[in-house]
Symmetry: C2
Subunit: 187 residues, 2 copies
Amino acid sequence: MKAAILLTAGFEDAEAVIVYDILSRLNIVVDMISCTEKRTVTSYFGLTLLTRITLGDIGDFLYDAIIIPGGPEATKSMAKNRQALSFIEQHDVAGKWLCALCSAAPRVLADNQLLKGRAYTCSGDLWQGRTEGRYRDNDIVVDGNLITGRGLGVAFDFAFTVAEYLSGSAVAGQQQAEHIYHQRKSM
Amino acid sequence: MKAAILLTAGFEDAEAVIVYDILSRLNIVVDMISCTEKRTVTSYFGLTLLTRITLGDIGDFLYDAIIIPGGPEATKSMAKNRQALSFIEQHDVAGKWLCALCSAAPRVLADNQLLKGRAYTCSGDLWQGRTEGRYRDNDIVVDGNLITGRGLGVAFDFAFTVAEYLSGSAVAGQQQAEHIYHQRKSM
């Protein structure tokens, strides 16, 4: 199993890294991908990550899951990034897992008609005034191949959910949650 | 208020970044500091961070808090890093907040006689066989100027605790926890 986390300037620091960490712990290979022309990407709070690849390096390869973290500037900019949107849509059409956290579902997916009527959650009131997709007032929402999470404080549960759907097993996730002292909320 | 997170190769990815993120959200300036000669530091799961400074750049400046994340290789290596140990001890002697997560308290502090009898917590059974300091079976332990956390799954609560002691106020922390949908455990 191989997953991609899509980064652009202003990505929410811990949302991206928690998902990377938990998937890695569950033996899923994760690529942090810069969606710009440079391999360095600076986060919302000013951390600079040196990624191994940019979106332009990937070609036709399809990941088993792609994950879009939040961060206000990042999701606004990714919503206009044609290359990233095309990459996301190709994965969705192929039935791969499409995973969006915080502001990513309304800004990147809804505003580009990529929710296609599916249920989703997101942070704050970003669902208001958006008619694409069906907002649900839950921490984590799974609808078909779309997994969405409300925000940073549920990033662990979001990551464990993504890992479980990717692996098809909840046992390893629960063992790892106990190992790191993470108490999962009932969903 | 200014805090430093001490990084060396193999640092636990999300432990470092969650603390960085939460302290930044609470308006505490945080420096990620490379404790090697290079500004790039690679995490436990292979993320490469480009820090703005190395320990050698700091001189005599004292931070209000220093934070040591876990990561097995990082804490083993920091336990033998004379420059980092001297930096930690200078801050402790000056009464600054000394904050250690996961394996950092037993490996870096206890094994260098830096706990000085204080109560602490850590991951797994690393407390066993170590006689320096008094292990407590809790998620977060505060004793004097020492704040310790058990591991990754309690990193949010650890970070909020550090921020509250630094700022002297719990109100902003609670508001931010609600803003990001983090449910704090009772401590």
